[in-house]
Amino acid sequence: MAVVTSALYRGYPDYPGVVTSPDTNTELPRESRVRRSSELVIIPAWNEQDALPGTLTELQRVRPDLDVIVVSDGSTDDTAAIARSFGVMVAELPFNLGIGGALQTGFRYAVRHGYQRAVQFDADGQHDPNEIATLFAALDAGADMVVGTRFGEGGTVEYRVGPVRRGAMNVLRVMMNTMTNSNFSDTSSGFRAFDLAVLKLFAQTYPVEFMDSTESLLQVCNAGLRAVEAPTVIRERQAGTPSTRHFRLVFHYLRLIVTMIAQWSFRRPPALPTPGSDS
């Protein structure tokens, strides 16, 4: 079979018929701390070699107590090698699966290795490691999943979006809140924390298509688990380009609405009905 693109299977030099550049950095540093904590930071990264060093440096400085897994989602640049040089666990997907697949890799790793909690953290420096404590505090308060929101009171509105996108997000938000009988101010945030129950749920099934966060929120609520939001500071992106092209966005927006309605119409009653209360 002819080589379509050698970058496609980068990191998999044994893949038949594919010539890849030798993986320059597969050695972990001496003080490697792949596994030490019971809490894991999951960083999905697709071609984030420019932003990743800054993000990992800050994360390891602010929260040295947390384990980190970087899931390189079929990156064609040096994302995986750079992540490895920081001594963190690196899972390299052989091809691009999209954010959902990258995240599920992290969830599955977390469950398999007995982590009790996990945080989803952006590779591009949007999220502040100091805010991880805010998310964990909400988990301590009894939530199964915490969404770090952009627009909540206390959260800084440093993050600006256009009017169309804002309107579209509002429609989603209203739909979501109606379906789950809750009150989320932002359902599309990628800064989230999960407890073991949610990790186990997501390790089994996680929405694999674009705009996964809204869909997974609905999934958690439908499973009878408790999702809350916590206002957090979301910064401007440090590097990289936002993964949003208009045509694709519209398609996934419509797809999401159909999926949500389908999921909602087949929702199960809460897993454990409280005895004695019929309300």
Binding site: E92, G101, Q104
Partner: protein, 143 residues
């Protein structure tokens, strides 16, 4: 391909094929069957799909041989023109096949994704353990 032998006035026309058209259909069906068997023999087509298309071919062949059947189907469905009944059934069948293939695709994508994820985790774990002097120092709890 099919030639109505009567004029489209008054009663629903009978639907039949001329002899050359019959022969053409037979030849096309034979070629298609040969092609499918070739694909099957080379393992480029799963048995169940070959069967699906062979059965489809047999049905097409049966309709070509006994065009009267379509007439009867059309009359029972109150469709004025028999070819329209044929098109209706054919399109419905093809749509069903498309939905079935979408289902199969989804299942395949799901499996591929699962494999890719597992591969990424295993490879990462392998690289992480390789550089450790003693793997026992790396506490891994497997469920």
């Amino acid at each position: 391909m099919n030639i109505a032998t009567t004029k489209l006035v008054g009663d629903p026309p009978s639907f039949g094929l001329s002899t050359p058209a019959h022969i053409m259909v037979l030849i096309v069906c034979a070629i298609a069957a040969g092609f499918l068997l070739r694909l099957l023999r080379r393992r480029q087509l799963r048995g169940k799909y070959t069967l699906l298309w062979i059965v489809t071919g047999v049905v097409v062949l049966a309709i070509a041989t006994f065009p009267g059947a379509i007439d009867r189907v059309a009359r029972s469905l109150s469709i004025y023109s028999p070819p329209n009944a044929l098109f209706l059934l054919a399109i419905a069948f093809l749509l069903l096949i498309c939905v079935y293939f979408s289902y199969e695709l989804t299942r395949l994508e799901e499996r591929t994704r699962f494999l890719a994820e597992e591969l990424a985790i295993l490879r990462g774990e392998m690289l992480a353990t390789e550089t450790k002097p003693n793997p026992a120092e790396w506490p891994v709890t497997h469920d």
